[in-house]
């Protein structure tokens, strides 16, 4: 076993072990144990990311385990967002006592589910088999649905229920596609569906195309691509803020990686252009559905949810265009979106403490009544809108340029137009949220503000670092490795 393989196993095992310990630990020590286990988990994840990025031309490719540049990037993102989510959770848990479970079991259930969700998320980018990837993606549903409805309030129950039913049905459709692929792979059966084996499919290109479409349509329900995105705005807006951050910044791109790997593996069978066109259609549809909502006055978390729909569409477009430039843009986009979006969701805990109406109404003038919180929300929105020097500006330019380079001028033009419209919508929201008229608000202590302010400083450094990396990435070995995938 190589050092990267050993590290990959440890990255998955540590949070899984922590989850077990959280289930068994005395009630009083649960929050401390959760914080203690978060740091080594994130450190291991980042160590694996660094090791994999230092050897981009030598991915580890096994039947059950893979470590490549795209997977390692996501492991790093999940590690960082998971750590931050655990660290800001006490502020959320201190703001109320309601939950799906009894008060005595509240913290244990929350942290154990969070760690279970985190462990499974870390496993998905490292798994080397489509069947096993499906199992893990399905397993995220149970853990995360419990967290979405955690508050036990009527709206959270509705959001959690929709999420559970829609994504489970979608994943059922995806499994049908997987079974069809398994029937045509010479190595035989569901166990033989390693990423490499998929390209040996011999059941005919027509059947492979239908299987690919079913697989992507099913995964789309989990990724949140339009038109099967109905659960996304509800779940993101009603989940506890640390969980919303994990859903948007980690879950969506992680499941998208499964779609990306499937596209790459099936391209020789179905046709490179066909597999990419499907992604471009999903991307443009998602972008087209999201943009009108970015122009509306929406509650803070709901606005961020529609922004997720927009960005997950942009990532799909980048993968669909598939040029080195576009894929470099995808890598930066995934990382920068994760930082900016997670920060936005973390700001929701102090926001709701400062203005409880923010859960159901658009907020204005936060910068006037709570400048530190206004700055956090402003930085998050400015970065998400693609306002320079946001790394998302550079990544969007790379993706659109990649679209022209790949010979998709219409799709690239439509992307540029929709991104410009989305920018205007979010820029308007940015001005209103931070500097608009402010209604009277209480002047009491704001829960979790100090932690979120510290995270804002870290996020600014990360975002500027990513903007610099975005300029250096095109033409590098890392960009080449993204194009090659697992081959």
């Amino acid at each position: 076993m190589t050092s990267r393989e050993a590290l990959a196993v440890a990255v998955i095992a540590l949070p899984a072990l922590a989850m077990m310990l959280l289930l068994l630990a005395p009630t009083g020590s649960v929050p401390r144990l959760a914080r203690l286990a978060a740091v080594p988990t994130a450190v291991l994840a980042l160590a694996l990311t660094v090791l994999a990025l230092r050897a981009p031309g030598q991915p580890v490719v096994g039947e059950w385990l893979v470590v490549d540049v795209a997977g390692a990037l996501l492991v790093g993102v999940i590690g960082i967002v998971g750590l931050a989510s655990v660290l800001v959770s006490p502020a959320y848990l201190d703001t109320g006592t309601d939950s799906l479970v009894s008060r005595q079991r509240r913290q244990r259930t929350y942290y154990a589910s969070l760690y279970g969700f985190w462990a499974i998320l870390l496993a998905v980018p490292l798994v080397g088999n489509l069947g096993a990837a499906w199992l893990l993606v399905e397993a995220t549903t149970a853990a995360s649905a419990l967290l979405v409805g955690f508050s036990g309030h009527a709206r959270a129950l509705e959001a959690g229920w929709k999420y559970l039913v829609l994504t489970s049905l979608g994943l059922g459709v995806a499994l049908l596609g997987i079974v069809m692929l398994a029937a045509g792979v010479p190595s035989g059966g569901l166990g033989g569906l390693s990423w490499h084996a998929l390209s040996t499919y011999s059941g005919g290109s027509e059947t492979a195309l239908v299987a690919y479409l079913l697989l992507l349509a099913g995964l789309a329900a989990k990724i949140g691509w339009a038109p099967v995105h109905n659960w996304l705005p509800d779940a993101h807006s009603e989940a506890p803020p640390p969980v919303s951050a994990l859903l948007s910044a980690a879950l969506l791109p992680t499941v998208l990686l499964v779609a990306w790997r499937s596209q790459h593996a099936l391209a020789p069978v179905v046709g490179e252009q066909t597999t990419r066109t499907v992604l471009i259609v999903f991307g443009l549809t998602s972008l087209g559905v999201a943009v009108p909502f970015l122009w509306r006055s929406l509650p803070w978390k709901r606005l961020l949810a529609y922004s997720s729909l927009e960005h997950i569409g942009v990532i799909a477009l980048g993968i669909g265009f598939g040029t080195p430039l576009a894929l470099a843009g995808v890598a930066i986009h995934i990382a920068a979106h994760a930082v900016a979006k997670a920060l936005g969701f973390y700001a929701a805990t102090p926001l709701l403490s400062h203005d409880p109406r923010a859960g159901e109404h658009a907020v204005t003038g936060i910068g006037r009544t709570q400048p530190a919180l206004g700055a956090t929300m402003g930085i998050s929105l400015a970065a998400l809108s693609g306002l320079p020097p946001s790394p998302l500006f550079v990544s969007e330019v790379l993706i659109v340029t990649g679209g022209f380079q790949a010979g998709h001028p219409w799709a690239a033009s439509a992307t540029a137009l929709l991104l410009a419209l989305g920018f205007l919508g979010l820029a308007h929201a940015l001005i209103d949220t931070t500097a608009g008229d402010s209604p009277p608000r209480g002047r009491g202590a704001v829960a979790g503000l100090r932690g979120v302010t510290a995270l804002t400083c870290v996020s600014v450094v990360l975002l500027l670092g990513l903007a610099a990396a975005a300029v250096a990435l095109p033409g590098s070995d890392l960009a080449d490795a993204l194009v090659r995938g697992l081959s």
Partner: protein
């Protein structure tokens, strides 16, 4: 596998879609899963296959127990009426199944009859989740889809890996347990098991 068994499975699926009582639907979907267990044992060639059949059996019994417990704890004064009448539901589901059979080319399973059975059951599962208003039926719809996929896995030329089959069974049980938690809370919060009550979140 005989065509009679496949069409029995399909008939049980269609019956789930049209029956009114939740307990009867649970019994039908459990019977369907147990038929699949019998089929898996009949075709088992290794200890791994027997283990996978065992997982399917455990899944069937656990889900039946959970669902029946739920039915007994959430009795409504008035049963939830479906939006669409039983015969219309059956008609829509059969049309959906025929469309799927027409659209989807050969899957590569052991027989074309098995492929048609799998597609019909998936159509019935989706139709159950979409057309029934009682929240429990939406979960039963998911179980129907999973039963269809279990049938497909049994009919794969190379068979399904035991690890994958055990994983699918475990995943479904986890999802069902979470669904049960939600179901009870929804019933307590809204005073009904009608999914039409879940309409507050709209833009």
């Amino acid at each position: 596998m005989s065509g009679a068994i496949i069409w029995t499975l399909v008939a049980l699926g269609l019956a789930v879609l049209v029956v009114r009582r939740r307990s009867l639907a649970v019994a039908l979907v459990t019977a369907q899963a147990l038929v699949l267990v019998g089929l898996a044992l009949d075709e088992a060639e290794s200890s791994g296959d027997v283990l996978a059949a065992g997982a399917l059996a455990v899944r069937a019994v656990v889900l039946a127990g959970l669902f029946l417990l739920l039915v007994s704890r959430t009795r409504s004064v008035r049963p939830v009426r479906a939006r669409v009448a039983p015969l219309a539901r059956a008609g829509i589901a059969v049309a959906f199944a025929l469309a799927l059979t027409w659209l989807v080319p050969a899957i590569g399973l052991a027989s074309r009859e098995a492929e048609r059975g799998v597609l019909a059951l998936i159509a019935f599962g989706i139709a159950t989740a979409a057309l029934r208003r009682a929240t429990l039926f939406q979960i039963i719809g998911i179980v129907l889809v999973e039963n269809a996929l279990a049938l497909a896995a049994l009919q794969l030329p190379g068979g399904a890996a035991v690890a994958i089959e055990l994983g699918v069974a475990l995943d479904l049980m986890l999802v069902a347990v979470v669904a049960v938690v939600f179901y009870e809370r929804i019933f307590a919060e809204f005073g009904t098991a009608d999914s039409a009550a879940l309409r507050a979140l709209r833009d």
